[in-house]
């Protein structure tokens, strides 16, 4: 079946499906009985079943690796560090923001002064022109 043989019989396909489900840990009694019967006459399926059983057994027997005792403490410490880091970044961004604000305010004040001066100059210039016109007309 799976290994080496080119043609699969219907029974081999059924057996292969059963073996794959066995890997998932869910094969009913009837299919298991069929599988046991089938592998007696089919060495290829027998080999596949043997390998699948070995794989599942090995995976199930692998020991779970526990976290070190100080794991939670280390996580919390790293968390505090990262929070402090982000606070520092926020503070730095805040400082940069307030510096930018000062520049914007200064530029705004400069523009306002320039506009005011221009208006004053325009008003004075107009008054001056009226005076000249008045002098000219009286003359």
């Amino acid at each position: 079946m799976r290994y080496g043989r080119e043609e699969k019989t219907g029974e081999c396909i059924r057996a292969e499906n059963a073996i794959e489900d066995l890997g998932d840990g869910r094969v009913g009694r009837v299919r298991w009985m069929f599988l046991r019967r089938h592998v007696k006459d089919c060495p290829e399926c027998g080999t596949y079943l043997e390998r699948m059983s070995a794989v599942v057994e090995t995976l199930s027997q692998m020991e779970r690796v526990s976290a070190p005792d100080d794991f939670a403490a280390l996580v919390m410490a790293r968390l505090v560090q990262s929070l402090l880091g982000s606070e520092r970044i926020e503070a730095r961004e805040g400082e940069r923001g307030s510096r930018n604000l000062v520049w914007v305010a200064a530029a705004g004040a400069g523009v306002a002064i320039a506009v005011a001066l221009a208006i004053v100059r325009w008003v004075l210039g107009r008054e001056h022109a009226e005076e000249i016109a008045a002098v000219a007309s009286s003359a």
């Binding site: 799976r2 290994y3 794959e20 890997g23 998932d24 080999t47 596949y48 043997e50 390998r51 699948m52 070995a54 794989v55 599942v56 090995t58 995976l59 199930s60 027997q61 692998m62 020991e63 779970r64 690796v65 526990s66 976290a67 070190p68 794991f71 939670a72 280390l74 996580v75 919390m76 790293r78 968390l79 990262s82």
Partner: protein, 202 residues
């Protein structure tokens, strides 16, 4: 695991998350203590001993930072393991980029090509008194361990979560953000590759 236990766990997790969002860091520490072994084990099986600590810590930091995005409808364990497996896969990708070797290419040859040590996967002890059988059993375990390390990342995640953490395919699908049938197919293909690795051994 009985349903009542699951729902009690889920309720407890939801409470701890709420308390944490309310500013109680002690609640988050309780979540770390509750799930640290699972996250650490998955990290260890994915990236090996040397990087597991960093990956597992990173997973919890990311979980804390993203806690506001957590939806209580999803089991906290699945949400956390999703972050953990993503952190592990990111770490593997960074590592493989450094070596110019795609992680899918680090397959089954059994020479520890991904840099993890064989010590990370202690073979199970002999469970028989027959010396020949003991030898075959240890050799089989060694080959399976090496082949597991060489599986594509998504296949390895399914194997670790299903066989070591006891998650169902539905839970694995939630963790990996894929349909259940996809997770199941990956599981079948992964075991198929592990069986193929045993060719010549049995």
């Amino acid at each position: 695991m009985p349903n009542s236990r699951l729902s009690r766990d889920a309720r407890e997790d939801a409470r701890l998350v709420r308390e944490c969002l309310g500013g109680d860091d002690g609640a988050f520490e309780a979540l770390v203590l509750k799930y640290q072994d699972q996250v650490f084990n998955v990290a260890c099986r994915m990236v090996g001993d040397s990087e597991a600590m960093d990956v597992a810590q990173e997973a919890f930091i990311k979980a804390y930072q993203g806690l506001e995005t957590y939806k209580p409808g999803m089991p906290f364990r699945a949400w956390l393991l999703r972050i953990g497996t993503n952190a592990a896969i990111d770490s593997l990708r960074r590592r493989s980029r450094g070596r110019d070797v795609p992680s899918e290419m680090m397959v089954s040859a059994g020479n520890g090509a991904d840099g993890t040590t064989a010590a990370a996967f202690d073979p199970p002890g002999p469970d028989t008194d027959n010396p020949e059988a003991v030898s075959v059993s240890n050799e089989t375990a060694r080959v399976v361990h090496h082949a597991l390390k060489g599986l594509p990342d998504n296949y390895r995640v399914v194997m670790v979560l299903h066989h070591m953490e006891g998650l169902s395919y539905s839970e694995i699908a939630r963790v990996m953000g894929v349909p259940r049938n996809t997770a199941k197919t990956w599981g079948h293909r992964a075991r198929g590759l592990l069986c193929e690795a045993l060719e010549g051994v049995m």
